[in-house]
């Protein structure tokens, strides 16, 4: 087997493939810059990332919280777990002491600092006896 015979042909085929992929992806990035179409992206992105404004929402809430403060989270029932994980991620200096679905029977301590997540993603910080 002599590499000189087949290497240029195979390499040219490979380069045509790479060039085609680059062309299609370049056009795709220009037309739809935020389209996530790779294999794992197709499987997981929409499922894992329903909100693009989470970072900004939590940054706003963090400004109203003290470092090390324990907070309780209240969120819509259908997205409570998602908001809880996001709160742990985006508020590393605070402790998420409890998470409740809105309208849950188990209440929160009246003195608790509450992160109240509304249906539209707006986050309100409530303190003291009006908590829970």
């Amino acid at each position: 087997m002599n590499r000189a015979r087949f290497e240029p042909l195979l390499l040219t085929l490979l380069l045509v493939l790479v060039a085609g992929v680059c062309l299609v992806r370049g056009i795709g990035l220009v037309r739809e810059p935020h389209r996530m179409d790779a294999h794992e992206e197709r499987h997981w992105f929409e499922w894992a990332y329903p909100r693009s404004d989470a970072a900004a929402r939590f940054a706003g809430a963090a400004a109203a919280l003290a470092p090390g403060e324990a907070v309780c989270l209240v969120a819509p029932r259908s997205t409570k777990d998602w908001w809880t994980f996001m709160a742990r991620y985006y508020l590393p200096d605070q402790m998420i002491a409890a998470a409740r679905a809105r309208g849950a029977r188990r209440g929160l301590p009246p003195q608790a600092t509450v992160l109240d997540v509304h249906w539209n993603g707006e986050i309100q910080v409530r303190r003291g006896d009006d908590g829970g």
Binding site: M1, R3, R25, G26, E41, W44, F45, S52, R88, P92
Partner: protein, 468 residues
């Protein structure tokens, strides 16, 4: 990042222009990060503060110490004499285009996915409290989805590379982007060493640059790309060691290779299996190189000693034992294996579907062909004994190990495979490309040996240089 490069550069001491070569910078990043994490994490567990000033101090001390202690150590040589031609220049341009598209996508992509938020990124953001390492959150019940049994080397690395600050979107993206560029640069160097041909190296590196290893940004902020980077760094340094005559320079490369392989379990749990496979392959590669028997064992020792120390340290300091992590072998695993082996088609079919997915652009199909040719090609028996056979063996072996886990797993097997196997292939893809390059190098070498008169140049294609 700059401090990690400084520490790595002090360790490697790449000579002259090679210090600023992409592979030189990539290796400096790998070994700077390895040393900073490998020394910084145990110190932090002993109570040392983790702040910008202590991180800078540690990096400064390490760089100065390595520089002074290593004055008599031979510098790392990265030059490979493999002249280019028009086809190699075209491949090089496509490689740059692929990397540019990757960086553009990385900039545009929003901050990733569930495993980043819930498993990897969150640990990095939470592990330092008031300037000290605090892993208490891993014991909190509400954090149980965080996979506390996963190694903490990479989350700690992100934190160190952010100078102790809470890493945000920019820090994660910069780390991911630089790790990806380092991966391509070091792989390219390995392809050059393995094939002896610049156009093959450029072409295969361009293939890697457009592969899901980089393009699939769901892996951003996860550990699969760093695992690939450290694995490739280890293997390429073994290639570099056996490409030079036996001596102190080769031993220095092998020590670094052992260090990089030993760091793999600091990154991911399966890093241990990958490290052991790479070390076995490296020991075989050293044995097949033209060295005296006594020198072979000295070189193997140079490889395995740092690897053993780093592997042992990974068990002591990175895995924080927690009872509530997922153990795939939990319960009566042999019963699960028996029942799944009774109908293996479903799991094997799903694994094959991932390997044959169009997203891979044919990498695994070509790898399979290379494996078959390596085993069956009889005109010259050299490929059956050369680097290609060894690399095909470890990649195929690791694929088999990964697939076998889905027969064992305590989780529902089908969703477990569908949710992870494609991503697990990413660290193996650069190794598969190195196997392909080694196969082409073996053919060139075999053809050169079979030629009736010695050729004027060492390589028939391009007068290329180092044959691994």
């Amino acid at each position: 990042m700059g401090l990690a490069l400084l520490v790595g550069w002090s360790l490697l001491k790449p000579a002259g222009r090679e210090a600023l070569s992409p592979a030189g910078l990539g290796l400096a990043l790998v070994f700077g990060t390895t040393l900073l994490v490998g020394i910084g994490f145990p110190l932090a567990r002993l109570g040392a503060p983790v702040t910008a000033s202590t991180i800078a101090g540690l990096a400064g001390l390490l760089a100065a110490g390595l520089f002074l202690l290593g004055r008599r150590r031979p510098p790392l040589r990265l030059a490979v004499d493999a002249p280019g031609d028009r086809l190699s220049k075209l491949a090089g341009l496509l490689l740059l285009a692929g990397l540019a598209l990757f960086l553009a996508k990385l900039r545009l992509a929003p901050l990733w996915t569930w495993d980043h938020f819930a498993v990897w990124g969150i640990k990095s953001r939470r592990m330092i409290q008031d300037g000290a390492l605090d892993l208490g959150f891993l014991d909190v019940r509400s954090f149980w989805g965080i996979e506390p049994q996963y190694p903490l080397g990479l989350p700690f690395a992100w934190r160190l590379l952010s100078l102790g600050a809470v890493p945000g979107e920019l820090a994660f993206k910069v780390c991911h982007g630089l790790f990806a560029l380092a991966l391509v640069a070091i792989t390219h160097h390995g392809l050059l060493l393995a094939s002896g041909s610049r156009r093959i190296a450029n072409g295969l590196a361009a293939w890697l640059a457009v592969s899901p290893v980089l393009w699939d940004t769901v892996g951003v902020g996860h550990a699969d790309l760093p695992l690939a980077l450290w694995a490739v760094a280890a293997l390429v340094l073994v290639f570099a060691a056996i490409a030079v005559p036996a001596g102190e320079r080769g031993k220095a490369s092998l020590r670094l290779a052992g260090l990089a392989a030993g760091f793999l379990p600091w990154i991911k749990q399966e890093g241990l299996v990958v490290a052991l496979a790479l070390l076995a392959a490296s020991a075989l590669l050293v044995g097949r190189s033209p060295r005296d028997r006594r020198v072979v064992w000295q070189d193997r020792l140079a490889l395995l000693l740092p690897a053993a120390v780093t592997l042992a340290a990974s068990r002591l300091v990175t895995n924080v034992p927690r009872a509530h992590g997922i153990n795939f072998f939990a319960g009566r695993w042999w019963v699960r294996v028996a029942s799944r082996l009774a109908h293996p088609g479903e799991l094997l079919g799903l694994a094959a579907k991932d390997l044959l997915a169009a997203d891979w652009l044919g990498i695994w199909i070509v790898f399979a062909v290379v494996c078959v040719l390596t085993v069956t090609w009889r005109r010259s028996r050299r490929p059956r004994r050369g680097p290609a056979a060894i690399l095909c063996g470890i990649v195929a072996g690791l694929l088999a190990v990964y697939v076998s886990i889905y027969f064992v797993t305590v989780l529902p097997a089908r969703p477990h495979l569908e949710g992870s196997f494609f991503r697990l292939l990413c660290p193996l893809a650069p190794l598969a490309l190195l196997a392909l390059a080694a196969f082409l190098g073996d053919i060139a070498s075999g053809a050169a040996q079979a030629a009736p008169t010695p050729p004027a140049a060492p390589q028939e294609m391009e007068g290329g240089g180092g044959q691994a």
